[in-house]
Chain length 275, copies 3
């Protein structure tokens, strides 16, 4: 029995998430359902990509991830399942899964073709529910779809190396609950490119010279209590493996955050310059 | 073993929802609990009615729905259980269940009378927990209440036919997470009244001439990408079976929604006029 | 098999809560996980204390409570487990558990010392997950920590008696979803001190002379419908046993609340004066 995770832009006020769980349990009463997030910015496939990419590895292999963002089946986007790194991802083929497939080649991809087998008033979500239950029960991908070789790519998700090889050019892909700013620069890519060279993180207004191992490391001197460092800016590689710019112990609604204090917004440029 | 669903206006910041689940699991450790919504507008029984009405059918028959909105037991409102369409609904008799009972006659209704059997410091929620666990375990309604024949009606929930039979007069009963505006005009009632006549949806400022089968159907021409239709207004019957006025791919906080762009608010009039 | 509850300031938009559950289920697939709150004000240990203190008793004995607020392991705060009133609490030793230990002496406290046994890239949350699963499976505290005798105290959490014994001096420790204002004055302490004397609750602007048994008791006369009492201020001891100042059927975003209408904010003084 596999876990089914849910990620969507449905919000928590409406009945959609509850109804979705009811449908899953109606079809598969033993299902173990875990919410990842339902507060994805509406129709924002980049946010959904990041959230899935940052969380899938915390679940056991074989987990089925249902992604309900911009999922309407239409002339441009078909429904797909991607088996990748021993997890299953059900989504619309709108670029949402390309952040994963850029890192590791998928094991298998199918275009879902069960739409005709469902009642005529079945909604897109009903298709995903049927597929998720089928896979969570251990069903085969070929039963619910036709194998395909490629998925749509969203290229602007990737950080790139400058022509002279002396800087990684990235940008902000996510702003979290604490107002911390997450970039598309991965630790893996940084290490590969840096080769031990000194570096500086160059942002809109202020720069940072060191990437810390964790937030508390900002409290570098034993002479002062940790509290005295609150409000200082810092950079770390977060648990998802991406460069994050943070304000130590930030509280967005009270004292401000990296987002508000450093003026960093979604899609803003952040570079690492080597010397 | 039945599912217990929870719908309330408790919000998710406080401990109430967690404590409620703890109480259920203390009494019935095998309970399967699913949240429908805890973000109902405080004391708004119309919103609660719509959310329950729109979601109950996604759950298996026998599901127990606990509704914690305006639930204090007082001289005006008693606690009731309604068995309806093979589901159980536990609520205060404040009109919340009348949206359901207007469509189909309830199978059985009881006024809960176990208050004296609980500890003297038991809260209203403790009563609901005891009843929910009893029913989810397969217990009989007569054990926890005395049969009654009617519940309080909230009449303004119903869309009505104009005197000349040429228009359905409804109003906004819910605004969802995407800012889409839901009316109290059901698809069933529309078909019954329309009898194939041409119609126009008449709103505050702008009218709509067609009810689409789904959101993407707004992209009527193959010449243009779907993206070019973002921001257009449309009407559909939503999954709950009610007329909904939407902005295609709306994002309330960024580009606006049916609620903000068309100036449609809770209780505003929306009519369908036949010609 | 015990329940694991989660309380944090992670919010629900990010993937952290989902990832945390994935990690727990990866380590202990049978775990029963219940959210208490993830909307604690960031790094606010007083709020976390109140929420835990108000909700733990709704869960069965043996429940494991994981508290992810200000939990980074650093030179000032170690990770601890406190066994108290037959429940287990996993937290950083930053004062969060002192509200509990002031009421009843803990059964056992250990400083977690498994950090060296985990992979070198393990995050603080991984430590808590391992400890929570160990305890939920029935494991012993001594296996994962070294016994200690005391935890850090946060003294300003306690209401105090005035020098002349004629007033209890408390303050606001929490503002709930309905805008109701919760103080640190417990019913137990009030009864102990009052000894039947007349009293008055003295606040910033207006006073209240009676503590009601429940919200609806504000509707004291049978001549008027309960609705006519909406908006009146009242005081009760809430389910958690603390003095609460409320506006009857308040809706913070529409008509206002005790917080907005009475101008009562976090840390404001509220006294009970005896005569």
């Amino acid at each position: 029995m596999s876990i089914i995770t849910l990620t969507s832009d449905y919000g928590l006020k409406d009945h959609f998430v509850g109804a979705l769980k009811g449908k899953i349990l109606s079809e598969y009463s033993e299902a173990k359902i875990i919410d990842i997030s339902h507060e994805i910015d509406p129709f924002n496939t980049v946010e959904a990509s990041y959230i899935i990419s940052a969380s899938y590895a915390s679940f056991p292999k074989g987990t089925v991830h249902l992604i309900g963002v911009d999922m309407e089946h239409n002339k441009e986007n078909q429904h797909i399942v991607m088996q990748w790194n021993d997890h299953y991802f059900i989504a619309s083929d709108n670029g949402i899964l390309s952040m994963l497939s850029q890192k590791i080649v998928p094991q298998k991809i199918v275009a879902i073709n069960i739409h005709d087998r469902l009642p005529s008033d079945a909604a897109d979500m009903d298709v995903f529910v049927t597929v998720a239950c089928h896979l969570a029960k251990g069903g085969l991908m070929n039963v619910i779809g036709k194998e395909i070789n490629t998925i749509k790519q969203v290229t602007d998700l990737k950080a790139v190396l400058s022509a002279d090889g002396n800087s990684i050019n990235g940008h902000v892909i996510y702003i979290d609950h604490f107002g911390n700013v997450v970039t598309n620069i991965s630790k893996k890519y940084f290490i590969e490119v840096a080769k031990g060279r000194p570096y500086e993180i160059v942002m809109k207004t202020k720069n940072i010279k060191t990437i810390l191992p964790n937030y508390s490391a900002i409290a570098s001197s034993d002479k002062y209590p940790i509290k005295s460092y609150e409000g200082e800016k810092l950079a770390i590689f977060n648990e998802a493996g991406f460069l994050e710019i943070a304000i130590f112990r930030s509280n967005p609604s009270k004292v401000g955050s990296a987002n508000s204090l450093l003026g960093l917004n979604y899609r803003d440029v952040i570079n690492i310059v080597f010397s």
